[in-house]
């Protein structure tokens, strides 16, 4: 039975046609808002864990390096001089490397107008050492002499490279003492987006998890003022969405675009794709507490099982190179002479047989939120299967992965995949020490490996690096050789930093020493 109703087909066609027409016209008649000339619009995935520069130890470094300044900035690899002056204009060290003197910049002020002086430097370092997430970088610092307002003298308990440490991404910012006092009284002081910095930008507004607006600090000491007085940053975790925002013109620059889109960007005349070395390194920890992984031969066998070329290609999408241990290329004390494992299936089988291992089953965990790990870890399962090892792979949130690994090491995972990077540009103090030095309670040494000879090499190298960098390098290289032979970890790849830069703008080069950061004061329109 048909329904004869008031909707005549002609009328319905009319309505449908009008709707489609409206839909199409809407896209043309609605004007785009005129671009504000002094606003540079950015999208990034960088979340803000904290606005406290003393506690900061995560991706908020993206913003911090524009708001706060250390004494020195470390220049990218290969650039001379090695450091650029920030709040210190000159610095010297004693012959024994235990006393460092920094002359402070005249006329530098915090965002409230108060001067940057030695008292501020001392208060900042004391706070960082006492409560900072990266406070360990000041381990060698015994005392700070701030008797002259324009000079700080750092007295160390052992020789340490204070120029390098003072230029750290984390724990080395100079903070307004008034802010430090305010934070001591109110732990939530920073959370609405206040700052106590002296950098070229100050926080104008912050909408948690959504946007950050920075405005230029008019009294900043730099002779050249930023070309953009406002930096409007949208926090967009999804890389595809970020890409859409940039290509549709909603933002001027997206810092996080998917690696899979690089080919299309290379073909697009509006963009340049650039590749840099980065401090990011993928490593797996074997659980050395459990049999048969407590046997180095078994660990070597598993290391020989992997197809590193495939893992590098799939994980890094062509923007990665096989690692030589846990120290990424381009970061001290990387050593190109350290050998690498390669896929040798028969050798791997022989090693397993010589260790008397049959029907081995292992549990592999990785961080599910890391898309690179999600891509390459299944390849590891296939590679292990080829030598008769059954790998149960589990993708869980990093916080869960880490928590489980620390809770009960003897019954935890067999292989823990992690992406790691050093706190500052010294992977000896960080990667080599944090990842594989013995510890009573596991923190980042999740292979639970204990080796007194390795510990001594790394400890001695750390103490030597402030006065004899070459000597320290030798010790570090010996330690890395030990890591290769003993294989407490499986060394996967060094990830490259790939950036898509709109040709319309001149954007400062990526600096490996500040891997999460973008320096907006140097952004300008291309000539």
């Amino acid at each position: 039975m048909s329904i004869k109703i008031a909707f005549s087909s002609q009328r319905i066609r009319l309505i449908a046609g009008a709707t489609i027409a409206l839909f199409a016209i809407a896209s043309f008649v609605v004007p785009s808002t005129a671009q504000a000339a002094s606003v540079f619009k950015v999208s990034t995935s960088a979340a803000v864990t904290t606005w406290d520069p003393v506690q900061s130890f995560s991706t908020e470094a993206f913003y911090m390096t524009n708001i706060y300044e250390p004494l020195l900035w470390k220049n990218p690899d290969g650039v001379t001089p090695e450091y650029s002056p920030a709040l210190a204009t000159s610095w010297t060290s004693s012959a024994d490397g235990k006393t460092w003197t920094f002359k402070l910049r005249a006329g530098a002020t915090f965002h409230d107008g108060s001067p940057v002086n030695s008292a501020a430097v001392k208060a900042s370092f004391d706070a960082s050492k006492k409560i900072g997430g990266a406070g360990f970088i000041w381990d060698a610092l015994k005392s700070v002499d701030a008797s002259a307002s324009d000079t700080v003298v750092l007295n160390l308990s052992y020789a340490a490279p204070m120029d390098l440490i003072a230029s750290s991404t984390y724990g080395a910012y100079i903070v307004n003492p008034k802010t430090l006092v305010a934070v001591a009284a109110d732990s939530k002081y920073y959370e609405s987006g206040k700052d106590g910095g002296s950098g070229p930008y100050t926080i104008d507004s912050y909408k948690a998890g959504s946007s950050v607006v920075l405005t230029a600090y008019a009294k900043h000491w730099a002779a050249v003022k930023p070309a953009y007085s406002t930096i409007d940053i949208s926090i967009v975790p999804d890389a595809i969405t970020a890409q859409q925002m940039m290509t549709s013109g909603q933002v001027d620059w997206a810092t996080n675009v998917p690696l899979t889109s690089m080919t299309s960007f290379r073909r697009n005349s509006k963009y340049t794709v650039v590749k840099y070395k980065s401090p990011f390194n993928y490593v797996g920890y074997f659980n050395t507490l459990r049999a048969p992984l407590n046997n180095p031969v078994v660990r070597q066998a598993l290391s020989y099982a992997l197809n590193y070329r495939e893992i590098t290609t799939v994980g890094g999408q062509g923007y990665a190179t096989q690692a030589r241990g846990p120290v990424p290329a381009g970061i001290y004390p990387y050593d190109p002479a350290i050998p690498q494992y390669s896929r040798q299936v028969e050798k791997a089988k022989r090693l397993l047989a010589s260790a008397g291992v049959k029907d081995l089953k292992i549990k592999v965990t990785y961080a599910s939120e890391n898309s690179a790990e999600a891509r390459f870890v299944p390849l590891m399962k296939d590679a292990f299967a080829a030598i008769g090892v059954d790998a149960d792979i589990q993708g869980i949130l990093f916080s869960q992965q880490w928590s489980a690994a620390k809770k009960d090491p003897a019954n935890a995972q067999d292989l823990f995949i992690v992406k790691y990077w050093p706190t500052y540009s010294d992977a000896g103090v960080d990667n080599l020490w944090s990842l594989f030095h013995s510890s009573t309670k596991p923190f980042f040494n999740l292979s639970y490996w204990k080796n007194a000879a390795y510990d001594k090499l790394v400890d001695d190298a750390i103490e030597l690096s402030g006065s004899d960098k070459a000597g320290a390098q030798k010790l570090y290289s010996q330690a890395m050789m030990m890591l290769y032979k003993e294989a407490p970890g499986i060394y996967l790849y060094d990830e490259a930093q790939v950036s898509v830069l709109p040709k319309k703008f001149s954007i400062p080069k990526y600096n490996i020493n500040y891997p999460f950061s973008a320096f907006f004061a140097g952004v300008k329109l291309s000539s």
Partner: protein, 337 residues
């Protein structure tokens, strides 16, 4: 009145059950919330200190009772990832989500019912088949996939609509919206900022279309099936035999009786859209509850997850209650059931 009390008391039970289950689940998952709060490189000592500060060292029942007590007093806790009060986060973001749901549901209802009626009229013909395909596609396509597809086509290729956001970023510098009610699009209208209104509507099209797809499909199928059923019933035949006009039969007799199930589905769909926005907002970087919910889930930000669960549960219950009231108005026999 008794029916109302019954509904309210069962709603309260649902709320208690939902909150307790979510609360317990969030705590038994092997995870260290302190990491979300102070970052992945936090020291063991910092993490232990924070666990005491957050009360995570206490037994779960004690934590739950404290949570309920504080929630009733307006303290929904602090988000571990944004460090802001959860209630404030929700209040700040909810208006944008409600505006999105309003447009999505309006679109789904108007076009879903209209096309359902149209399909019923042309049952078995090409028009019916086309509408059926559209409806099935709407119901079966995952929102995040449809969102990406529309974004790629209409924002990326054709550049007809903006890819993301609720307004152009430049708008806040050139034509800032004065906050009156907190609903940005509505505020732009009542303050006469029509540049912002047009810009907001332009931004609304793709996310609203994406979000409406499921409800559109459901409503069009429901409208078609119901109308066909009602139009074949005896009282319609009698009305025809009496010579009543088709317009009168359709609007006064058929549509009214076909409406109650459509209203129910509309209500349920609206409630479904509360969680449906999660993916859509993520794809379109919409500044509402959805993006906040997804980020909270990914970081196991349990105070935020609890807040969002409570909000969703309350939303479902309120909408269902309203649907009951509307149905009772349309068909008073409902009170007797």
């Amino acid at each position: 009145m008794k029916v109302v009390w019954n509904r309210l008391s069962s709603a309260l039970l649902v709320l208690i059950a939902a909150s307790f289950i979510t609360f317990t689940l969030a705590r038994v998952i092997p995870n260290d919330p302190s990491l979300a709060y102070i970052g992945p490189k936090a020291t063991a000592a910092d993490a232990a200190k924070l666990r005491i500060t957050l009360g995570l060292d206490q037994p779960i029942p004690v934590q739950y009772i404290k949570y309920v007590w504080q929630t009733l007093h307006g303290n929904w806790g602090y988000s571990l990832s944004t460090k802001q009060p959860v209630l404030q986060e929700i209040i700040d973001r909810l208006p944008s989500t409600i505006e999105l749901i309003f447009f999505a549901m309006s679109f789904a209802f108007i076009f879903g019912v209209a096309l359902g009626v149209y399909a019923a009229k042309y049952r078995g013909r090409v028009q019916d088949s086309v509408i059926r395909i559209l409806a099935i596609a709407g119901v079966s396509m995952p929102a995040f996939w449809l969102g990406l597809l529309l974004q790629l086509l209409f924002a990326g290729r054709l550049a007809w609509f903006p890819a993301t956001g609720q307004f152009d970023i430049d708008l806040k510098y050139e034509h800032p919206i004065s906050k009156v009610t907190g609903f940005p699009l509505f505020d732009s209208i009542i303050t006469g900022n029509f540049t912002a209104t047009l810009n907001g509507l332009h931004h609304m099209v793709l996310p609203a279309l994406t979000l409406s797809a499921y409800s559109f499909g459901l409503l069009s199928r429901m409208a078609r099936a119901n109308l066909l059923e009602v139009m074949s019933s005896d009282y319609i035949k009698v009305a025809r035999a009496y010579g009543l006009s088709e317009r009168l039969i359709f609007f006064k007799l058929a549509l009214k009786n076909a409406l109650p199930p459509i209203v129910t589905v509309t209500g349920l769909s609206t409630a479904y859209l509360i969680t449906g926005t999660f993916f859509v907002e993520q794809v379109y970087a919409w500044p509402g509850i959805g993006g906040f919910a997804v980020n909270s889930l990914l970081s196991i930000d349990y105070p935020a997850i609890m807040g969002i669960t409570l909000l969703a549960a309350v939303g479902y219950l309120v909408i269902n209650f309203i649907v009951d009231l509307i149905q009772a108005k349309i068909d008073p026999r409902m009170w007797l059931r």
